[in-house]
């Protein structure tokens, strides 16, 4: 690991001030991606700004049909919530127990790993990502590989998930890392059917062709014959683009079959 200054922030303003005054700073939430990256010398920041001492960033509450999850809420805490079972089940299948005890929803979303699970939930459930500056619609949040709509130094504070009528998440997990080779969240919401896909491409996306087919007929068979364009999909030692394309359909069908309230 290269050397860096470990900086503690006691509130959001202080965190952002430290970030702005540094030539190269990075926030650490749970650190489940950042710390391995630092150890592999894939990251070399001057300052690592710890967000864990900021009060109130990890709270989870539910009111008026919306589950509000603080950015520093650990995966294990999201897994223990009951208002959106599909979201809890998704959180419970991230990594392993030790990762779920440290990793946070805000850190995962800000990192925007193409194989992370939460992005499928943000898109599939139509969540709103709140930051210290503004509210960003989930549909606008994921921009590209490890790239989000967050400005430099902007900090996620919470994510608001509207409670769906029914939802389910199905994932084909890499057997070693448990990252999603492909994961699909299917949800029946007050605003219609939503399908969020992660793992397949540079970042998570909504699959509107599936949403339209399922709006007409909410059954797995409705997806038969609906083509998935895999030309831009990821291809690596775990799966080819074509294989991921096939998995998108298979996982979406599994999710439809598992829809729960």
């Amino acid at each position: 690991m290269y050397t860096f200054n470990f900086r503690r922030a006691s509130n959001l303003d202080e965190a952002q001030q430290i970030h702005q005054s540094s030539s190269d700073a990075v926030y650490v939430a749970g650190g489940m991606t950042l710390i391995p990256s630092l150890k592999l010398r894939l990251a070399n920041p001057d300052d690592v700004v710890d967000l864990s001492q900021i009060d109130g960033l990890g709270s989870i509450s539910s009111a008026d049909g919306v589950v509000s999850i603080g950015a520093m809420a650990r995966h294990c805490e999201v897994a223990a919530t009951s208002d959106i079972p599909a979201l809890a089940a998704l959180a419970n299948r991230i990594g392993d127990a030790q990762v779920r005890n440290r990793g946070t929803i805000g850190g995962s979303l800000a990192n925007n790993d193409p194989a992370a699970d939460y992005p499928a939930a943000v898109l599939g459930l139509g969540a709103i990502v709140h930051t210290n500056a503004r509210a960003i619609a989930g549909d606008d949040f994921f921009v590209d590989l490890f790239e989000t709509a967050l400005d430099e130094g902007e900090i996620i504070t919470r994510v608001d998930f509207p409670i769906p009528r029914r939802a389910a998440y199905a994932k084909f997990a890499n057997q070693a890392s448990k990252y999603a080779v492909v994961g699909v969240m299917v949800a029946e919401t007050d605003a219609g059917i939503r399908v969020g896909v992660t793992g397949a491409a540079a970042c998570a996306f909504r699959l509107t062709s599936f949403e339209e087919a399922l709006s007409t007929n909410m059954s797995a068979s409705a997806l038969d014959g609906v083509e998935v364009d895999s030309s831009d999909f990821n291809s690596d030692l775990h799966a080819s683009a074509a294989y991921r394309g096939s998995l998108v359909t298979v996982m979406a069908k599994q999710a439809v079959d598992q829809l729960t309230t």
């Binding site: 710390i35 990594g95 127990a97 030790q98 005890n101």
Partner: protein
């Protein structure tokens, strides 16, 4: 950098490098070498300790992140000469071969049992210990030991 830690019930104020890991502090600053560093890449779980009651990989926590925290290591779970029920069960079930993964396995297994809603099945234990590798591949007896221990915890 000053870091305050409570480790196995004792308070410590340590002065460590900004990029020190919790595993470095435990092993090198405090001499608690029961916490093993196996892969040092967040995969094997041999370095698992409890931070504020939950299992974490000590090689993947910066010391500064643990500031003010309560840490329990493998050295802190027995009560004097009385082994923790999980340690007793590991011995009774021959749940270790070379023993390198054992401290991490035991710390993970204790958190698994303590945070379970009800009795764990063998499948629950295998899922729950996903983050711990035994390269002797002695998983069968480890699962037996955890199932055995949960009755006594």
């Amino acid at each position: 950098m000053k870091v305050d830690l409570t480790v196995n019930g004792s308070e410590h104020a340590v002065d460590v490098a900004d990029n020190a890991l919790l595993s470095d502090v435990l092993r090198e600053t405090l001499g608690l070498t029961g916490t093993h560093v196996g892969c040092d890449t967040s995969q094997c779980g041999a370095c698992t300790v409890h931070l504020n009651g939950r299992s974490v990989k000590a090689c993947t926590v910066l010391a500064g992140q643990a500031d003010g925290g309560d840490v329990t290591t493998i050295e802190g779970i027995a009560n004097g000469d009385d082994l923790h029920p999980m340690q007793v069960a590991f011995r009774a079930n021959h749940a270790l071969q070379c023993g390198f993964c054992t401290p991490g396995m035991i710390m993970s297994a204790i958190d698994l049992v303590q945070s379970a809603d009800g009795p764990l099945s063998a499948e629950d234990v295998r899922d729950g210990l996903e983050g711990n590798f035994c390269r002797c591949t002695g998983y069968h007896n480890i699962v037996k030991a955890v199932l055995d221990a949960q009755a006594n915890m």
